[in-house]
Amino acid sequence: MALAIKVSNLVKRYKDLVALDHFNLEVEEGEILGLLGPNGSGKTTTINCILSLLSYDKGEILIFDQEMKPDSYEIKKNIGVVMQNVAVFDEMNVYENIDYFCGLYIQDKNLRKQYVEEAIAFVGLEDYKKFLPKKLSGGLLRRLNIACGIAHKPKLIFFDEPTVAVDPQSRNQILEGILALNRNGATIIYTSHYMEEVEQICTRIVIMDNGKNAAVGTKEELKKMIKNTESISVEILGLAQEDIDTMKRLPHAYSAEYADNHLKINFSGGKHNLVRVLEYLQEKNIPFGRVYSELPTLNDVFLEITGKALRD
């Protein structure tokens, strides 16, 4: 597989703060790569460095095997950007905005007209063409921001937290749209601190923490990197400490917590963990309510790899 992006040993400092610390990244053509990290982990900084909006202290950035510089216009032609902060002209309406940004790449008038209409249809803003951005709701504004970024049909698209402050319905539409762009052949870099989104659409995930690349892999690969394979939770009223300690010693179990009348046991491997838990409870005649078995989430991965939760 050819590489769309290769970032090696990138270092970026803001005065004393090291925002990126020898960060490495490889993005293959045709994939959706998720950059997952908490607020301030350096996702936007990474993207801005790759786009040559920021100068950096050290490292190398290649896009489609060519060095990326501020005046690499040939490379930039193939890139689409959807910024974290909405970047549209308040003075121009929806159609004019998309036409403006598309026109920064596409000079041919007729082709551009077609592309702009397609972008409007793609984000579902057909009824709002003449609206000024101020008149759009937050979700519609985000969609306009996306349309402006992708109208010229770029091969490589950056999405920096495009779903922040968007209701679940619009969010799903946006995610569907990104998948559709990818099916049409675009390589996508997607940043977020919502692990569900990343899990839902990304083919590969980079976990960022403090400007470092903490782990890389598909979600399955990431989950295999950690000890936890299954967590079983049971609702039980007034469980004795003795029982907690015993259950902690069940085969493959490595830890157990009991809080708010919920028992949670973590397992590493083993196929019949749920059966063993239920058998023990019946044997001891302990009444219980609902039971869940959960596979590890990216949050668990994050927790284990960085020692802290992804979300506060």
């Binding site: 930039k76 032609k77 890139i79 002209f89 003075e91 121009m92 026109g103 920064l104």
Partner: protein, 385 residues
């Protein structure tokens, strides 16, 4: 030409204020400046401002004679034989005289004692401009004498000083032909631009430039395949064309108001001077766009800069009235040079071309300085971001 196109769309949203200032200017022009122009040249206006007056001096003092000789100098004295109501009314009615001045006995003494009311009597047809002018001159004279008396001079010296002081003033008000202080309407039209252009361009252009300077938009555009240099060139082209467009409207206004006078050597110089000054105005707009955080602050800057310069540089107030200190400061403001050039162009003879071009050159230097200043600030901001 994507950026160029967007410029006009954005301009379209901010054009209101610009049109407002242009309208104010045109209204002032067509309602106030032009109607005063009755086709008279300066010389005719000068003679028509002289009152014909008769004097009856019952005091026969040095003071009364000095007063009469002063008034004789600026107005026309007419002999009247008898001081009786009927004769005076006939003469007034027939317009042989505009007014009669009666100086009662004791005038000199009263004046020396610092009395200010009831010194003389005036008979005139109520409310005629010319008699009011006469009265103003009379009162000015008496006030000056009073001021010198108050300052401690004796009445003889006070009268002498008053004569010298007022004679200088008369020189300003009633100049010889060709003197620089008689200005035609064309002068006022163009000189007034010293205020209007700055105000209009800063308020109209700076907000547009600020749109392109918004951090998000700037970064987004810099990600694109559109070269930076082209972005700047297209914005510059839009701004320059706006300036030329406004100038064209002003020239059209001048053609309507002054017809052929625009297509003369001095008319051409006025227009050249206006274009130079337009660059200064655009320079201010660029500088302000890099200084102001929002449109309210732009308006504040526009008013402070344009009004400040208009008052200090001889646009709202003639330079003759300004103090030496003010004029010294004004040398550091572009509006002064614009206004100076206008004054010289109004009385253009071939010899003065050098001076006029120097003024324009200084304006261009100001424009360049403003642009460099704006660029420095913009660069400094970028480094800090």
């Amino acid at each position: 030409m994507q950026v160029f196109k967007s410029y006009w769309k954005i301009l379209n949203r901010y054009k209101g204020q610009m049109i407002m200032y242009l309208s104010i200017f045109m209204v002032v022009l067509f309602c106030f400046i032009i109607p005063n122009d009755m086709g008279e040249d300066g010389e005719n206006q000068y003679t028509s401002m002289k009152a014909k007056f008769a004097v009856f001096d019952y005091d026969h003092s040095a003071a009364s004679e000095a007063l009469i000789s002063y008034l004789e100098g600026i107005h026309i004295i007419v002999e009247l034989k008898e001081d009786d109501t009927e004769t005076i009314q006939d003469e007034l009615f027939n317009r042989n005289i505009d007014c009669v001045l009666r100086i009662p006995e004791g005038f000199g003494e009263k004046l020396a004692n610092g009395e200010q009311t009831g010194l003389v009597e005036i008979v005139a047809i109520m409310g005629t401009t010319i008699s009011m002018l006469f009265e103003t001159d009379l009162n000015t004279y008496l006030n000056f004498v009073n001021a010198y008396l108050l300052a401690g001079y004796d009445s003889k010296i006070a009268i002498e000083h008053t004569d010298t002081a007022l004679n200088q003033q008369v020189d300003v008000r009633l100049p010889e032909q060709g003197d620089t202080s008689v200005m035609g309407n064309r002068y006022y039209y163009f000189n007034y631009l010293g205020w209007v252009l700055i105000c209009m361009m800063v308020i109209g252009i700076a907000p547009i430039l600020m749109v392109y300077n918004k951090k998000n938009l700037k970064e987004r555009v810099h990600c694109s395949a559109y070269p930076f240099s082209r972005i700047h060139q297209e914005i510059l082209l839009g701004v320059v064309l706006t300036g030329i467009g406004i100038c064209a409207v002003i020239i059209a206004g001048a053609v309507i108001a002054f017809q052929g006078d625009v297509f003369s050597a001095s008319g051409g110089l006025y227009i050249l001077n206006m274009f130079s000054y337009m660059l200064v105005a655009l320079g201010f707009a660029f500088l302000v766009s890099n200084l102001a955080a929002n449109v309210e602050i732009v308006n504040m800057f526009a008013n402070v800069i344009s009004l400040g310069m208009a008052f200090l540089c001889g646009i709202f107030v003639p330079t003759e009235v300004l103090g030496k200190g003010v004029i010294a400061i004004a040398h550091f403001l572009p509006a002064y040079w614009y206004s100076q050039a206008c004054g010289r162009i109004e009385h253009y003879t071939n010899g003065a071309l050098g001076e006029i071009l120097t003024c324009m050159g200084i304006e261009l230097l100001f424009a360049a300085t403003l642009v460099v200043l704006g660029m420095t600030i913009s660069r400094k901001k970028r480094v800090e971001a």
